[in-house]
Subunit: 401 residues, 2 copies
């Protein structure tokens, strides 16, 4: 997901110090996670939560305070016997995760602090399809700088940048191999986003799934996240981890054949899901012209009872149900979560989708729910991936600082 | 996969002894794997391979010899300076893995020693479809006892029994939830196979995939294994591990919709892959009557140039190609391996399968190969899963012995 965390290189004859250093790093992470999940907590409470001595925890906490990752809120419960403990909380002024999204119709950037709060945000609406990567990413760089500046004015500093892109991303986590709905090929975002920040690029459906996993209410560790807008992507989460595939291309639900003799698709296939349930396919089927805020237009028409629009959405739901039957049969997820822009159309998509899935599956069908984050999921997931990397290895901050 | 390995329970205040015991178990496994992969090896060679002192390795080796897992072949390279080392090899007389398979048309059992050699085998041909689990498993128990007896006469003892079944297996690894082509439901094989051996039951495609992974020549760690006979199953291997799904039902390729308006399927869906590429569907399409050795009959007719049979196989390949396009898009495996009985028909299936997959996939297509184990894969994978469990935790043998 995020920038890899390296232990400093070490000769093969020095296994023990390396092990100790690794253990210290892990214990720093355990302290951060304990305070992040349950804080504010006293040092004694942290020690009892993670099973270390209070003295050991104090040393770790002092380090985390020095790095600006934890802060002391002042004396706690002064009525108790003994030296009063000071409550610890995750800092709201330390590192921030910068998330960015390259959408087909917009650019967005946000900063999320270690407490998970969005502290700054910038959006630019306007079509990106067919534009070269350079001008689009120059605009994105400007937005990133603006958000970083706003975060810095709040006492935060950027720990890294994660960018969500609607396309296939190489396993180097910086090259966009192919983004058909932007018409980008082999674009190295590392070179085109000169922000000076550690960079991670990932597919927008992957970041949407991570937002669901980390921030969603009761999300199971095994689910299929569908991210539908102009393209239809998906992300497969297994045991709380993204399934990436050999080249990093897993989750291409949009190109699962639904009606094998159907219309040709940009991918080279025929009758792919995107030809029936992608945003533009639905607009075509509904007899509408593409324009800005396509989803808003479809929702408005459907809400007004437009028969053609409702039929188009019903048929898109059927196509989604057929493709998801195959996916559920292959992956046996605990649930399917519908995210992305089309999540806003779920009142008209879900009935036919769910009935198709139920009719085609023997036994209890896989439940389908709608993401509470909708189109915000990928941006939030991107920013939180940077925050999670800090919580998972707080020492990385000291190495960079 | 195999019987879970438990550390003995321990109070929370005694973390250190538990850690040491865990480390010793892991070191025993490292010795076993080193000798298994590269043996015969001297103690000194094992020590240098795994980075422990020769004294530490000698203690571990003595234990493994005492348990009957390693044996000494006698002095090695006596010309060298110093006390001659004795070459160590994996024992050909210690524990054996007992694999069994419940096929629609046969039962099979084999014993594999720690060196990976098949040392005993028994097969019974005859249809099992529609028979109740009890008589079928009584016959299987008889075969298991016969194979165990033969193995014992060779100085081996059975370390466990693993059974491959063409159906959905619960995550308890003993209950057959549904095996449509046997017409079995909710059968507890733990109760019905009174062999006294530790038991693991798994889907036959899963065991076939493990045979491919462990025994195949150059099998990558990420692949999709298709196991096609009357039913069509698949197994998804990611990073060298089976993807099992929430309920253990992942890999149901046979019920991926291919032509959504196609004929109804036993699963409750329509137009599933099994309706086009399952053994019986192919026989129907070829105008042949089901009987024994269906695959042999199809291969013979196809080889003789029978146009109807060739067309049926070509169309089955097309349906497989459509279903696999969806699977490859979702999973991005490094390769697809065609196993099971239909692997014997690959000369007539593969061309249409591969061209469908290539035409429908943008960029370089996913390579498709034919399993070298064919219908033997599940049985071999089952037996080897028991052997691997011994290599992965040799101390478990001592606990049981």
């Amino acid at each position: 997901m995020t920038a890899p965390l390296h232990e400093s290189p070490n000769g093969s004859g020095r296994a023990l110090p390396d092990t100790q250093r690794g253990m210290r790093r892990r214990n720093l992470a355990r302290v951060m996670h304990a305070v992040s999940a349950e804080g504010p907590l006293s040092r004694a409470a942290v020690a009892s939560r993670i099973g270390l001595t209070r003295a050991a925890v104090s040393t770790l906490v002092d380090e985390l305070i020095r790095w600006g990752l934890l802060e002391e809120l002042g004396p706690e419960r002064p009525g108790r016997v003994g030296r009063p403990g000071s409550a610890l909380a995750v800092s709201g002024r330390g590192p921030a995760g910068i998330g960015a999204e390259v959408g087909v119709d917009h650019l967005a950037v946000c900063a999320v602090d270690l407490r998970g709060e969005v502290r700054a945000r910038a959006v630019r609406h306007g079509p990106n399809r067919g534009r070269a990567p350079e001008p689009v990413l120059a605009e994105l760089t400007t937005l990133v700088r603006r958000v970083v500046g706003a975060a810095e004015r709040e006492g935060l500093w950027p720990a890294g940048l994660a960018v969500a892109v609607p396309g296939l991303i190489a396993r180097d986590a910086r090259t966009v191999v192919r983004a058909p709905n932007l018409d980008w090929h082999d674009a190295d975002l590392g070179a085109l986003l000169p922000t000076g920040l550690p960079l991670t690029v990932d597919n927008e459906a992957n970041f949407g799934a991570l937002a669901e996993l980390w921030l969603g209410d009761g999300t199971p560790p095994d689910f299929l996240h569908v991210s539908a807008e102009i393209g239809i992507g998906a992300a497969v989460v297994v045991d709380g981890q993204l399934l990436r595939g050999t080249r990093g291309f897993a989750g291409e639900l949009g190109h699962v054949p639904v009606w094998p003799d159907g219309p040709p698709c940009v991918c080279g296939g025929r009758g792919c899901l995107e030809q029936y349930a992608g945003e533009e396919a639905v607009l075509r089927a509904a007899g509408l012209e593409p324009g800005e805020d396509l989803v808003g237009l479809l929702a408005q028409r459907a809400d007004e009872g437009d028969k053609e629009v409702r039929k188009a959405l019903r048929e898109a739901g059927t196509a989604l149900g057929i493709a998801l039957t195959g996916a559920v049969n292959l992956l046996d997820p605990e649930s399917v979560v519908l995210g992305g822009a089309l999540a806003g159309l779920s009142p008209w998509l879900l009935p036919s989708l769910a009935s198709e899935l139920a009719d085609r599956t023997a036994g209890p069908s896989c439940p389908v729910s709608v993401s509470e984050f909708g189109p915000q999921g990928p941006l939030l997931g991107a920013a939180h991936s940077v925050v999670r990397a800090v919580l998972d290895d707080p020492a990385s901050v000291a190495e960079r600082g």
